[in-house]
Symmetry: D2
Subunit: 341 residues, 4 copies
Amino acid sequence: MVVVMKAGATPRQIEGVVAAIREFGFSAHVSEGLERTVIGVVGSASGRDEVMQAMLALDAVDRVVPVGAPYKLASRVHQSARTRVQIGPNCVFGGETFAVIAGPCSVEDEEQIVRTAVAVREAGATALRGGAYKPRTSPYSFQGLQAEGLRMLAAAREASGLPVVTELLDPRHIEIVDAYADMFQIGARNMQNFELLKEVGRSHKPVLLKRGMSATIDEWLMAAEYVLSEGNAQVVLCERGIRTYEPGTRFTLDLSAVALAQQLTHLPVIVDPSQAAGRANLVAPLARAACALGADGLIVEVHPDPPHARSDAQQQLRFDQFSEMMQDVARIAAIAQRQPT
Amino acid sequence: MVVVMKAGATPRQIEGVVAAIREFGFSAHVSEGLERTVIGVVGSASGRDEVMQAMLALDAVDRVVPVGAPYKLASRVHQSARTRVQIGPNCVFGGETFAVIAGPCSVEDEEQIVRTAVAVREAGATALRGGAYKPRTSPYSFQGLQAEGLRMLAAAREASGLPVVTELLDPRHIEIVDAYADMFQIGARNMQNFELLKEVGRSHKPVLLKRGMSATIDEWLMAAEYVLSEGNAQVVLCERGIRTYEPGTRFTLDLSAVALAQQLTHLPVIVDPSQAAGRANLVAPLARAACALGADGLIVEVHPDPPHARSDAQQQLRFDQFSEMMQDVARIAAIAQRQPT
Amino acid sequence: MVVVMKAGATPRQIEGVVAAIREFGFSAHVSEGLERTVIGVVGSASGRDEVMQAMLALDAVDRVVPVGAPYKLASRVHQSARTRVQIGPNCVFGGETFAVIAGPCSVEDEEQIVRTAVAVREAGATALRGGAYKPRTSPYSFQGLQAEGLRMLAAAREASGLPVVTELLDPRHIEIVDAYADMFQIGARNMQNFELLKEVGRSHKPVLLKRGMSATIDEWLMAAEYVLSEGNAQVVLCERGIRTYEPGTRFTLDLSAVALAQQLTHLPVIVDPSQAAGRANLVAPLARAACALGADGLIVEVHPDPPHARSDAQQQLRFDQFSEMMQDVARIAAIAQRQPT
Amino acid sequence: MVVVMKAGATPRQIEGVVAAIREFGFSAHVSEGLERTVIGVVGSASGRDEVMQAMLALDAVDRVVPVGAPYKLASRVHQSARTRVQIGPNCVFGGETFAVIAGPCSVEDEEQIVRTAVAVREAGATALRGGAYKPRTSPYSFQGLQAEGLRMLAAAREASGLPVVTELLDPRHIEIVDAYADMFQIGARNMQNFELLKEVGRSHKPVLLKRGMSATIDEWLMAAEYVLSEGNAQVVLCERGIRTYEPGTRFTLDLSAVALAQQLTHLPVIVDPSQAAGRANLVAPLARAACALGADGLIVEVHPDPPHARSDAQQQLRFDQFSEMMQDVARIAAIAQRQPT
């Protein structure tokens, strides 16, 4: 990192900073500019945060600028080859194909989830989503069918052949969700639920890690680092819209972050246009855009009868809408040198 | 709620919306404007979210506008008298006094926490803070002393007489934290960890609920509603800065939200200037501002030797800085018709 | 619009609101809910803002919700057929083709702009961009060649056959810019420079109106309304990234807003990936995404030698990079039922 | 500035960067870390932006970190003594007193502005505000009385003795506004209207420079630099709320930025709570907070009859509300070692 001194820092203050750097086991390279002195700090990455904060606590220090990325295992500097994550027979993230996870916001009953699974598979999806444990803004909203929902997802997997992706909300549910799911989803609201990240890090199951609604790319990759550092290398990142001042859409889909994350990390990065837009009629354009950009896949909400859905009715696609969207996506994927399986 | 139809919606589409509203057990009042039809929806608040989303899933509907607040128990409409929350003998939130919780970001060792507790009490603080379980952006940063830290907090309470406020991160820790703390803190990153909210809602201990870093005021009050709806009425809200585009400060302290929340809810609202600013030299001005605004109290980070702190070194006050800040706050509190105990 | 009364508003207060509504020449439809009264306000759109603000100044009013859009001429309700804007022989916005404006950030000398014009035409661009008057954050940065730059742009048009798009900063420059440009560009920083909007509204030349960096979609369309209401119907909108908390990119490209704006207005909407990303290596992925989404075109920064550019060196493409990008865009445009001319 | 190379940059690439730095007339100090090389760039500040952008255009460069502030004349490094700006006999910004500018959003007629001027002076205000040229989001909203409004402001100055602060929107109006105003106000939407900034920079009249609604502190100080660099040293900064995701208030008042700006610049910094909150009932708490924080003054909207105001009715105070607010502010100013004149 680089420590920028305040203009007018005295030699004594500079010496104090150098001494503090050495106290942490790092070495210091002082370089004087016309107006300010800058001190390069060289040493092992562990303890990096502590040194940065300690420097900032010193009066004569103006700013501290990190030089490398704060994450290691998630970085392309650490691993240049792209990670491939496979769930089920036909769903690969980070390979040559374009993976599409589809299904309802919530599992509502067995018929609903089974019909949807079969329909999305017919349209070209390679994995099934469906919420059994639901994080809801209001305590009075439908909270999901929970364990019963998980059993229905298993029935839908049986009927469709699609692997199941479902959300894990609470470390106390990990055993039961692990028994039914092929991939753990960590939702945006839990991206910095570090105890939960450590738990899925200790499992051997792929993890779909959604970006928090106000997380920076660095924080998102640090959340992945929590999972990787516990020994689980099977992480897929998912951009799902960030919070901005614009009220016209539920969130603002940040496709630049997808392209940039793919440069910074070897992990696959997919896109959730349904959560981002919060409006069914924006899902297809955003899905096409994500595919043309070069994202590794999509997760899309599909429901047999959206106006009667028990959650997020406004953003789920009907089967025919999803099918039409998939045809466009397939043609774009072909150009983007991807095949939608 | 009010359903706004698209311009050009046909009578048949309007009838369809009315039928859908009745299907949910609500009644519909149609009113035609020059360009658009608007439909008032009247009925019980439960099922409100579901109706809203179902309406949005209909093609001819442009927007749905909620009329009342989404929260009930937290609302001043429900309870006009302000809630008072007391912890320990001298610390009251929502009364005539201005409550100040102070202490280090993390508990580091017994001497550190005991010295700090005594020092902040001398300066006028009425409760002690200190993190035992720490949510850290990086898995490589200090994660807190955990159970051992809790025991040290108890020793500091013994030495100082101050009640203890400490963070609960994981529902599996609730028993042990309950055994040592006088108030549970729910951090910004867990404001929508709904399973955790339900757990503290079932306890009988006061809860300090921080605003999520990108939570709206409505979402913050809905998080409080989770706790209240489980039966625990002892909730204190805390504004701690929101995420904006401005890079000069760690977060942007939203004092307007404090004043507005005090109009919307009967729960006390305090301010955390340390987390918001992320710089020790902004803490005192923001603390004075919060007091003059009419906030119900503060939570401030104080450390015996900030440059050697194991976390957030840059934003913790030294004892002398805290003491000076408290003198200014006391004089402003006197004008604001509050007494700092 | 709909006026939502506070819970507990008295009959007298409700009557006061009704009287105030009538005073403005609107009629009022009162509808009582279980907890709150809602009043529909019906009447002509002019005076709408004044009524809204007056209602908000009354004590018993909780909120006022607009029902229709604030813009008229820009709305698809007003005109359902999409507007086509043509500049030069081959550049149409809003038709079946995908329009691409390309060129350097700033005009630097005649050779630079002529070479670039020829090169981008070869690669498939249909219009030339180049800044003569430059809005720069710092007074010490290069401010553009001004009138001389305009003459060089004309030389480049002569050499390449491409029409010229260039920024107008100041109403006092309108005559000279009008003499050289085929399309006025109004930059993001001037989106709410209403005097400037009125000026270009009185001209007969097409206008490229960039979205302000923190403008909502409604505000952007209201800025277009300023131009339209003065009599100039030739407006093309351009999304160029909004300001968010994410530091990894210069701005956050908001493609959802492009898709949504195309539903709300009949005006063409194009995308500027260069300004948004602020990094050359993100321009091509974002350009592909914009095309697949269904945008009406692009504006892209291209320079013969980016590291020696006098402004925005980091985000300009080399000729070979632009050419490669255009090949991908052409293939996607073909699928998106667009032809890049 | 400091250039951070990508991990894995080759010696040849590093040499290339060093050569490019020298080409600009700067010198380069190379320092190798464990993983990355960092290059310090030393030299005169002019050309700084160009070097930064050129570095970013080089493939092997990861990031460029500025070391000093981008502004010079506005910086406390350049001038440590605080600037005092005086308008009229009793209104000083940046001195020991707390300055309060008050008056209506818009000048509506002579009686309105004269009555208001007298009333706010009685309550303790030391300057009068009132918009004659109004920047309005909608072309259909009241655009101000313009030249006639200026004459009414002069009449109000005559009647009250208060100096007049009014907005300048267009460089073509500078002569007439100069003839009537005691201080030019540059509004938030024009903070980066650089041609306008240069014009007021060339005048000899004090300037009130509002922060743009999404401007960083650095950009705000750079806008001040435009005025200062043209020779006008009489600049007062004004924070008026920034755009965030929170819908509960019109803007989010950023008091942290006020405290931070006062550390970075010698120019006075005042606060506009009316524009920020957009609700009359939040103005007084925010005004108290701004005063306790240590701001140099306020600008507040006051109207004889807010529900009948022609603009911003919802956020203007009545005379009695303003008077009550001023009493609280005076008591806090006394503690904050300021006297409200």
